[in-house]
Amino acid sequence: MKPAVLTGEHYITGDIACAEGAIAAGCLFFGAYPITPATEIAEHMAERLPDIGGTFIQMEDEIAAIASILGAAWTGVKSMTATSGPGFSLMMENLGLAVCTETPCVIVNVQRTGPSTGLPTMTGQGDMMQARWGSHGDYELIALAPSSPQDCFYQTIRAFNLSEKYRVPVLVMADEIVGHMSEKVVIPEADKIHLVSRPKPTGRKDRFKLYEPGPNGVAPMPAIGDGYNIHVTGLTHDERGYPAMNVEAQEQMMDRIKGKIQNNLDDIIETESYRMEDAEIVIVSYGISVRTGLAAVDQAREMGYKAGLLRLVTVWPFPEAMIREIAGRVKGFITVEINLGQIHYEVERCAGGKAPAFLVGSAGGKIIHPDKVLECIREKFGTAGV
């Protein structure tokens, strides 16, 4: 039997690293329906979870898969599902249920090219806006984008920590290349991995309110069977969790759902900068496209352009304040993403006309070559040094 945390150096794919990250984070329930290119995560969880006292269930479809992880979360365990393309679409209704019931869980989307069945075995980053707005109604959630297998390991752990801390579904927006590429993944010793568990109620059980916020805006969450009165519903509910069909309850619920994210942006938003100190041309990217961007920055610097890269580790909530601040001191932005413009529009919106924003995108199917970024730099910013 293997231990939960496989301390050491491994040469594994992003999908496997993601599964190992989940296990290292304490995930004990995985419910999913296999789909390319996320299937290896399910295969690996099926192999690993029974050894460490966890449960794997292959559900009948993705609607049931996400339902199963919400149910598992309310029994008190950390839970995850993994999917892609059409499966992610099927999960949208219950993603809203997770937001509304403030259920901590992790959903991995190893993106492929859409729309519809699209190119099942080929990469894409076309689900980024769906990740933010795919379920009906207003809401906040968190989406992270790993750029390497090592990052898949860490971002999955971080996804669990954030989901537990803020009682919110967290999306790990990987893609086919990151999911299937192999690189060295270093797994630290178990006691070196920082883990967060959901806040638990401590007061009198007869006066307990399921959605009464704690100091950071997040309500403590008991498990079913802990002895607290639990009523979980997707209807608009009051702080007791009971349906309340009125505008005041709706406003109070939405304040809490949005507030716990919006009031903790500094903790949730993570970005990385590369050669940004004196950058005039800022490449904004996330996921596998970061690697295109990094190569392009180095080549552009060699050609004499002052280029830098801003990597969105957290894509949602979007780092609006940071883009606004950068926009005031640079010549322009280039967003690199494997779609025909999604995060690009967010960058453009936040740049607010202070700096132009350009897109280097594609219809999907393969990674974007750094030359495409260099072409854009030459076309939009002229010859270096002039």
Binding site: Y11, T121, I177, H180, M181, S182, E183, R291, I367
Partner: protein, 199 residues
């Protein structure tokens, strides 16, 4: 081995799905990473081609972090099928190294030096043609030193089915020895030529 200016070696292994092409790429990448403690990235064909069609694994080995994970210009092309060779030969430059299974690939119009081995036939003589990929790794290691022998052997032992380790090590050694004797033969010929020219 001819490293780029930033000591980056880009390798493509190509052949039919089922020849162990992906495993060969994985062994090279893993050897470089976990054995030789370099940076290494493996991307692989994933669709239907990896189950019978023209299949490839792309490995980058570097002293520095690898950004773009796909091969631009292969320094080393290992071809185990004609279709795979035909697909990647346009990407070869004169200073690349081409390694072929000579019974399966006719390296016509190759712009660079090529080294040939009957890897599949040698594997059949060892009792299992599935080991042709391991023979090819041995051959590749001797000719290019892309990874160290210690790292390659340790990775092979970890990567092949239990109970077949000794036979796979034998296969590696066959390929490696054939590679060394190929290099020696070339040296001798080169030395002979120099002698003749000196007269």
């Amino acid at each position: 081995m001819k490293p780029t200016k930033n000591n980056q070696t880009e390798i493509i292994v190509t052949g039919f799905g089922g020849q162990g092409i992906i495993l060969a790429g994985r062994i090279l990448g893993m050897s470089a990473s976990l054995g030789d403690h370099k940076e290494s990235t493996l991307v692989q064909a994933y669709g239907p081609e990896s189950r019978g069609g023209a299949c490839n694994a792309q490995v980058i080995i570097s002293d520095k972090p690898i950004h773009y994970p796909y091969v631009n210009k292969p320094h080393i092309l290992v071809a185990m099928s004609q279709a795979g060779y035909d697909k990647f030969v346009p990407a070869l430059t004169p200073d690349a190294i081409l390694l072929v299974d000579q019974d399966l690939v006719h390296p016509e119009n190759a712009p660079c030096d090529h080294f040939a081995i009957s890897a599949t036939r040698m594997a059949e003589n060892l009792g299992n043609k599935m080991m042709a990929n391991i023979i090819m790794i041995g051959f590749c290691t001797a000719i290019t030193q892309a990874v160290s022998t210690e790292a390659a052997l340790a990775t092979i032992v970890q990567s092949v089915p239990k109970g077949t380790e000794a036979r796979n090590i034998e296969a590696y050694n066959k390929g490696f020895d054939y590679g060394l004797s190929t290099l020696k033969g070339r040296e001798k010929r080169a030395a002979g030529q120099t002698g003749a020219l000196a007269q």
